[in-house]
Symmetry: C2
Subunit: 295 residues, 2 copies
């Protein structure tokens, strides 16, 4: 359902039960439409809506799921505080072209006695995985469940969660799921801050400070593109950029192969510069793909 006019499109129906979602998808398939899927945790921003818009392009029936998945949060993390804004999300989804919102009740996703998990492998271990030990297992588990309900032809994820996209692409291949994974570009605020539902939790001062992560990535990008070869030196400069901004904790700053997520020993070809920091209670991640000179 493309928003062809300036009129406000009708907000899509919200399915809360697995059976409702399955029926709506089956009906769309029967009508000859392919199924595109955008799984989200809600609190939609322009990053999410860019995914919905991309999904809406080829005329597919677009399903947006909204579910704050408990198993991808650690015990000390912000599951309870994660923003929940269903009404606004529904409107934003409508404007972006969603045909169905699937906002499952908790017991649809985790029925009584639930105990099976989809466990990713080594790709889930570095970077965010090193600081959020069960995070990607939670992500894989809930996405597998959602995929098994929606059965999409194609699913859209943001490059902002770069490691998530790599881990899920691997999951889909390993578990023989006939689903194409599309990864869309990261969307930034005007000043460069990566859009995130968690940005809403920053105070005005923290919001200002938060830009340091983007600046650190830009520093790395500029040095890499200028031909600098010393990864250690580049990461030290990124660290300085973060620490000069004010009180922040660095989880990691890395320059890696964007497919294997292994540290780039020497920049050659496409690399990913990525980082995670914490400002106050808020954890922020960001990354940038950089085309360096091949030998």
């Amino acid at each position: 359902m493309a928003a062809m006019t300036k009129e406000e499109p009708t907000a899509p129906p919200v399915a809360t039960r697995e059976g409702e979602a399955r029926s709506a998808v089956a009906e769309a398939r029967k009508a000859g439409r392919s199924i595109a899927f955008v799984p989200t945790m809600g609190a939609l921003h322009a990053g999410h809506t860019s995914l919905i818009e991309a999904a809406d392009k080829g005329g597919a029936f677009v399903v947006v799921s909204i579910y704050v998945n408990p198993t991808q949060f650690g015990p000390m993390e912000d599951f309870n505080e994660y923003p929940r804004t269903l009404d606004a999300d529904r409107e934003a989804s409508a404007r972006a072209g969603a045909d169905l919102i699937f906002a499952p009740a908790h017991d649809e996703m985790y029925p009584p006695g639930d105990q099976t998990r989809v466990r990713p492998g080594p790709l889930s271990e570095p970077m965010c995985g090193a600081f959020r030990p069960d995070h990607f297992e939670g992500v894989c588990t809930v996405v597998a469940k959602l995929f098994n309900i929606v059965h999409p032809d194609v699913a859209y994820f943001g490059q902002k969660d770069a490691q998530q996209a790599v881990v899920l692409r691997r999951m889909v291949r390993d578990l023989c799921m006939p689903i194409q994974i599309e990864v869309c570009p990261l969307v930034r605020e005007e000043d460069g801050l990566a859009m995130s539902s968690r940005n809403a939790k920053l105070t005005a001062a923290q919001r200002k400070q938060a830009l340091c992560l983007y600046k650190a990535l830009c520093t790395a990008r500029d040095r890499l593109m200028a031909g600098e070869q010393t990864i250690g030196g580049i990461i030290a400069a990124m660290r300085d950029t973060i620490m000069e901004s004010g009180p922040a904790e660095i989880d990691y700053l890395s320059i890696v192969d964007p497919e294997t997520l292994e540290p780039a020993r020497k920049p050659a070809g496409l690399v990913m510069v990525a980082g995670a920091i914490r400002i106050g209670e808020t954890r922020l991640i960001d990354n940038m793909l950089v085309e360096t000179i091949r030998d």
Copy 2:
């Protein structure tokens, strides 16, 4: 394809690639047929063919997979020695009503870099799980892959592998797979030995001795049905039956709730008597459902 006459039915085609299997299944679906699936490791015996026959009953398109799955064998187990008899299996499948055999090449099931696993929960821990630590993770992983290729409406498993059936039923529910799991009765040799592809590895003397497991289950059944309440006493009698038969190692002898697999403290209603023993290099399992008197 039901074997309606005494003529030998044509052996079903064998797909070795994921794409071939998907196409054949898609074509059957297009023709309005539902899809029934019998996953096996080959070396088919009357237990397996009873599953194929059950699958063939409602007129479904019957897919039989034959794949000796390495991830469900422990490092010291008999993966390399497991019997492989594809030609005979193909004929037996044909006679039982299979429409397609899917005998995937190894790299179809475990592509290069494969690392994702489906991890079952507490239901996989007692009984066989206690002696084969990664076995059920391997089973869940390969069955999830196969389900994602075949997309059956219904899948058939044998009660012989009772814990497997319980774990897979849980997996299907937890991962929101729209697949019905049917569990068919255990099939025995004339003297009572549970049919198993591993029976072929027994020497004549071991084959004779192997009956002790069935006898131990019968002992338990008879005592339970006579109203005996002392689980410890019944299991001791089972143990005596095994040990009197000759040199054998007992992995476990248990009386459990057939759904939760928790030890029955006091027999009431339906219980499962189950055991695993090793005779020489060969591991044998067996079980029996017993309806005891409810309070």
